[in-house]
């Protein structure tokens, strides 16, 4: 019986978080970033951080390489701390889809889940520890009949920089000059 009031309380608290309707009966498009696990990277060496995004149901965003010069590509921009170099971002290929508003035309889009890979390389002298990287994913979303102004999603994650592991090569005692038979 105690579960009922708890459930009611949870529903009430979560009610405002239900996707908002903006304008005349339309949902606001949402692109979200899944929590990014901390990636451990050896200093002086590049590592890849994977960022998983989700486009809200019923919406699509342009891929990084849309088919028209006028369409706004999805693009990640990151600001790195000093001595952490942000390298190339790998974008997945877009999915070629046609939409009811242009059945004869294919657009290169992302919908549902997609993952970007970011190369991060701490310089060799970086002090080991956690470093935060911040940036934005710029995207422009549409549904089947309308498009929404470009938006920027904050992207924040951490990397853990560690020293290179020292590999100890054990010598074969048989080869030791001090080995005695």
């Amino acid at each position: 019986m105690h579960a009922v009031p708890k459930l009611a309380a949870c529903l009430l608290i979560l009610a405002p978080l239900v996707p908002a309707q903006d304008g005349p009966g339309r949902k606001i498009p949402s692109v979200t970033l899944a929590p990014v696990p901390i990636t451990t990277i050896t200093r002086g060496k590049p590592g890849t951080v994977e960022l998983q995004f989700r486009v809200g149901s019923g919406f699509h965003i342009n891929s990084n390489t849309p088919k028209s010069e006028f369409l706004i590509p999805t693009a990640l921009k990151l600001n790195a701390p000093t001595d952490i170099v942000v390298g190339k971002t790998t974008y997945p290929p877009g999915v070629d889809r046609s939409f009811p508003f242009a059945p004869d035309e294919k657009l290169s889009v992302y919908g549902g889940d997609f993952t970007l890979g970011v190369i991060v390389r701490p310089l060799a002298h970086v002090v080991p520890g956690k470093y935060a990287l911040h940036g934005q994913l710029k995207y422009q979303a549409c549904d089947n009949a309308a498009c929404y102004p470009p938006k920027q999603l904050p992207v924040d994650f951490e990397v853990k920089v560690e020293k290179a592991k020292v590999v100890v090569h054990k010598k074969n005692p048989a080869q030791s000059p001090h080995a005695h038979n």
């Binding site: 009922v4 009031p5 304008g23 005349p24 242009a102 102004p149 470009p150």
Partner: protein
């Protein structure tokens, strides 16, 4: 310690009300704009002064006596691109009867890019460089395309958000042409 379920529900309700109130406090402009857009039908279309692509200053009132199809669009809006050839044809067809299509580009693109896009689309009607304040006056224009049909008397006959079929656009044009006929007759 046993918690009273009534107290838990009351606390939850208070928190919910605070969250909802706070949520709406941070975005009053969007809601007010949407409300403004919803209330436009039957009222005078908000006046504006904007620059056209060819450098002219254009006021909405300049078109009084004509039915105006006011189309908010952007170069990045694919559905907008579908409508534009229809507007070109409809301007040719209904222009002699008193229709004036007017495009307002709600774009971050440069004026050159907007002009290039419009030229590629063969646009035969004025394209104005939009301002956020004008969009807000028309309800925020939170997504595109957004089209307002204005009668010859300057009143909003209808508003349509998102892409609709050519047939529906034509029907709205006919309504706008019919609206305020008396105004035209008096001129």
């Amino acid at each position: 310690m046993k918690r009273d379920p009534v107290v838990i529900i009351l606390v939850a309700m208070v928190v919910t009300i605070m969250l909802v109130f706070g949520f709406h406090m941070v975005r009053p402009s969007a809601d007010q704009a949407a409300l403004a857009g919803a209330n436009l039908k039957g009222n005078m279309a908000p006046e504006f002064t904007l620059q056209s692509l060819d450098g002219k200053t254009v006021h909405l009132v300049d078109f009084r006596g004509k039915a105006v199809l006011l189309n908010f669009w952007a170069t990045w809006c694919e559905p907008c691109k579908i409508e534009m050839p229809w507007f070109v044809e409809l301007q040719k067809q209904y222009g002699p009867e008193g229709l004036q299509v007017v495009g307002i580009a709600m774009d971050d693109a440069s004026q050159e890019d907007i002009a290039k896009f419009a030229s590629n689309m063969g646009v035969n009607y004025p394209i104005l460089i939009g301002k956020e304040a004008v969009g807000d006056a028309y309800g925020g224009v939170q997504f595109l395309p957004a089209t307002f049909y204005i009668g010859r008397d300057g009143k909003v006959v209808d508003k349509v958000f998102g892409l609709k079929g050519r047939g529906e656009i034509e029907e709205n044009i006919k309504k706008a042409l019919a609206e305020g006929q008396a105004v035209q007759a008096r001129r």
